[in-house]
Symmetry: C2
Subunit: 155 residues, 2 copies
Amino acid sequence: MSRDDINSSKKATPQPDYQSLAELRYQIRRFLHFSEQAARQARIEPNQHQFLLALKGLPENMRPTIGILAGRLQIRPNSAVELVNRLSKAGFVKRRRDSDDGREVLLVLTAKGEAVLHELSLHHRAELQTAGPVLMAALQAVLKQARPKLNSGKT
Amino acid sequence: MSRDDINSSKKATPQPDYQSLAELRYQIRRFLHFSEQAARQARIEPNQHQFLLALKGLPENMRPTIGILAGRLQIRPNSAVELVNRLSKAGFVKRRRDSDDGREVLLVLTAKGEAVLHELSLHHRAELQTAGPVLMAALQAVLKQARPKLNSGKT
DNA sequence: TGATATATATCGTAGTACGATATATATATG
DNA sequence: CATATATATATCGTACTACGATATATATCA
């Protein structure tokens, strides 16, 4: 007993708002692109930079193992191994075969790795000063039209 | 007995908050990872999906040319050409050598492309229902500590 | 002890963005 | 109007890296 209008008071708008969705992805890409360039300027590969950040910024309750880091980077454990190979070859991290569990490998930042990460983090924080709000806006635009049910809105 | 405590009321915190920075990137990766898997489930390559979205969601004042799309995807124009090659081979887009400028190529979605994009967009919108707020929170956490100066500010 | 699970490592492969370069069309300039 | 130059796409070979499949080492359980 209801007509399917476009979008007015339905549960979830049937037609997605492509424009806001596209804008969100565009802004995300811009930020990621900035990040990659910043990394290369700092003489480190973007994915290696992300590894360093994931390592240093790991929540305290997590152990810095290959597997955990892989999860944080959303890559397969074997890919993480290869990444660590390149990282240690470049002198950014060290492997520490310690722990109770002899299978695990704990990753540790070297001074060099720490330095690059520090520099890059400051740069990123500065960039986010402007990019952040833009991202927020794009995200909110998507969420606004995505809202599943919302009648009696006041706006 | 040192005063380089955490951060309290400085201009811009000298030490970046690695944890919130890392968390932001983690959440971005989770969303992108979801997106990639969703695309593959829909039988399309993630980058091809992004192209379709960028095309359909292009602001009205922009013409859907290779160059413009390349900019929106943050890739080189020649990479965009190759992407379009794969897209048209797969039947998702068509080239339209029209326009006043004979050098340009205008991209057009096929019905097939439209269909996949529609499906994926709904899926993404649904995902963002939960992922969106998490991203927002992560972003805000970074911005909070990144705020450069905050005296006599208006919020 | 033996069986099985888990963590890391190795290796070959495939996919793709890139730089360098080529071609086509447009525009400027004499 | 002919030529020079700029711009938009296109082509081609290369390099990088994440991946699947598999191997090895250690842990855990029966």
